[in-house]
Amino acid sequence: MSNGKARVMEDAKGRRATYEEITVGQSLGEMDWAITDDLIDLQCQLDQDFDPLFFPSAGQPRIAPPQITYRPPRWLISRAYNVRGLFVGWEMESLGEIRVGMTLKVSGAIVDKYIRKEREYIVYEAVGRDEQGNVLFRTRRTHVLDFVERTAPRSGAGIDSGIKPEKI
């Protein structure tokens, strides 16, 4: 299905990171992530899941669906590298409730990279902790750098960027 002609070299937000530039073991740093009612509303809207678990009665704590954790690790990658590509692997452990009013600290690192079937993959891990340092989630992600095989030259200009806005 790939065009086989070229991989994107740059987009409106700059040059795309190459496989060689991505360093296994590199920290992706840490970010604070505030959990708000609006954030949970939007996640539930995207997922079309309006279970009362996420919309509790007045006075009950409001919790978020675990998959709300998808984006912060992706934002950490965007801060370090301009990688568009496709998301291909998602491991996740949900260890504690993520509730409105919390501010999580999310940190991550590049843990692996490999080439398979002429495509370049990176693997990164992230952990989210509450204000007391309790781990609420752990995740491991795999991302293919390009849909086009690595045998194609990196010369094209992309429209979409790998540097994502830090919002849902």
Partner: protein
């Protein structure tokens, strides 16, 4: 009320959840992305805009939340592979089956195979997931 309970049988098949997607489902403001714009997708070698993977996987998450309730929110685990692109107008159905159970403290961890099929019956997302149910229930 969660569907899963401590006496659930290996081989139990989840109720399915399905959706027919539209390009509009993946729009965010006026951004031109590989999820919303044919030219942006073509520049990346894609034949058409592709769906946002986590939004498709959400069919499984709804299913697992329905099955496990709070035992999915705290204790839920998944390991999913996005095996082939889902295009923005595809039809997808989430399926799952219980494969194994094991005691984990005061809970039972129920392991499942989960997958999403497209309109051609191809597995576009596949993997495993598990959640907890109290043994005392």
């Amino acid at each position: 009320m969660a569907i899963m309970h401590k006496d659930i049988a290996v081989g139990y098949e989840f109720p399915t959840i399905a959706k027919k997607y539209r390009l509009e489902d993946f729009k965010r403001a006026d951004e031109k992305t590989i999820h919303t714009d044919y030219e942006a997708a073509a520049r990346e070698g894609l034949p058409a805009p592709v769906a946002i993977g986590p939004q498709i996987a959400a069919l499984l998450f709804r299913q697992l939340r329905l099955c496990f309730g709070h035992g999915w929110i705290v204790g839920g685990k998944w390991n999913l592979t996005f095996r082939r692109p889902v295009f923005v107008t595809d039809f997808c159905v989430a399926r799952g089956v219980v494969t194994k159970t094991e005691t984990e403290g005061s809970n039972l961890r129920i392991h499942c195979d989960v997958w999403i099929e497209n309109q051609d019956g191809k597995h576009v997302i596949a993997g495993t997931a598990s959640g907890l149910v109290p043994l005392a229930s």
